[in-house]
Symmetry: C2
Subunit: 214 residues, 2 copies
DNA sequence: ACTATCTGTTGACGTCGTGTCAATAGACAT
DNA sequence: ATGTCTATTGACACGACGTCAACAGATAGT
């Protein structure tokens, strides 16, 4: 089973051990919340001893920060089409936006436990908070605010929307709601559940920005 | 200055000391995040020793749970009028809803640091998580879902809204956004800022539920 | 006023997880 | 075979936690 896992008292290439630790952390977070993640608990899943951890990571907050690195970019990528788009009708914009939200949700389904761990860690450590809230989230807010500003200028969205604040509200809603839906380690995620979640998000975003519906 | 603060090696009535500890915790959280709140740090603000803490509270998570008790009810109270209301026009409903959101925001302005601390603690302790997320938040979601369901039935809101999921998205957005705006210990909260935040929240809620605007 | 009792209070202790460091022992080159 | 390099680890000190027996201030009874 754990063919590639690291065995005790053996030398490895630095990256090999580092990747083994990252994998062990991911595996751990699949079934346990971040608050139960201890350095010893993670290292037990590699064949290495606890002190070996500190050769590769400063502490467990550094560990989740690196876990985020592999995912952070994805969250931008999936939304890019809507984020940089413009000059469509409300109907068109809605469709593109709905697609972006659906892809974003799928990313959360896939990396839910890890993202939940990062979110939890952010409230416990100033460094993680910086990377996650003020790095990732804030950049998403800015990007969304840009798009909203353009939509207000082109008349797609009403001009009583304050782009910055509206963007922050919508992004924070999405983050929190998706974490709530897909971040629990135990939950098994069904396709119907995913559909309902995406539908609710699309409703709020589209009705807020493009006012389709009654 | 600290006339009523507890002095060392003196006996007190149980509630007197307990209230002093709760006050010390509130005061601590006014200027420090929860992650820096230690039992020793709190007790240093009373005249009591660290072990005395454990005569009144099980641990620091129990402490924030009790801090929440005094506030949790308020969040329901301010929204009650809209939550239990019905049979109004969209315009009327919007006004009542906007008022509820404004009052809710004011509660957050007032108790921001404490609520932030509770939210942070919820990710670190299963008991706090139970009280906060599955107690307070979930009950708010249910109440909002009820109201949405009635609005859908009476035709005020469109019937493609799924009440439960929409309610959860909106409530989580509001919680997260208000915490983000008013939960930082250092921030000085201006009246303009409050206004902008409430306006953004009202936009999203009203446009989602009652679709006013273009 | 003296004493006994009750109980709020605390110094001292054991525990747990952390982060560090000198010493150890594989792997590789010569 | 031998030496060098460095990944690895046992052992240590630290900080915060939660507990407990012992202490001492308040109160009641005489």
């Amino acid at each position: 089973m754990t063919e590639d896992s690291v065995s005790r008292r053996r030398r490895h290439r630095p990256e090999e051990a580092e990747r083994a630790i990252l994998a062990a952390a991911r595996s751990f977070l699949e079934s346990n919340p971040f608050r139960e993640m201890t350095v010893e608990g993670v290292m037990a899943r590699t064949g290495l001893s606890r002190p070996a951890f500190y050769a590769y990571f400063r502490d467990r907050y550094d560990l989740v920060t690196r876990l985020l690195e592999g995912i952070g970019g994805l969250l931008f990528a999936v939304d890019r089409r809507w984020l940089v788009g413009a000059e469509e009708s409300r109907k068109e914009a809605s469709v593109v936006l709905a697609d972006a939200l659906r892809r974003g949700a799928e990313t959360f389904v896939r990396y839910g436990p890890v993202l939940r761990a990062i979110s939890d860690a952010a409230s416990q450590d100033a460094r993680v908070e910086g990377v996650y809230r003020y790095g990732l989230i804030e950049r998403l807010v800015d990007a969304v605010a840009d798009r909203i500003e353009r939509d207000v200028e082109t008349g797609l969205s009403p001009d009583d929307l304050e782009p910055e604040e509206t963007a922050r509200a919508l992004v924070l809603m999405t983050e929190r709601y998706l974490l709530d839906a897909f971040g629990k380690p135990e939950e098994c995620t069904t396709r119907e559940k995913t559909g309902a979640v995406v539908e609710a998000l699309v409703s709020v975003w589209v009705r807020t920005l493009y006012g389709l519906g009654p």
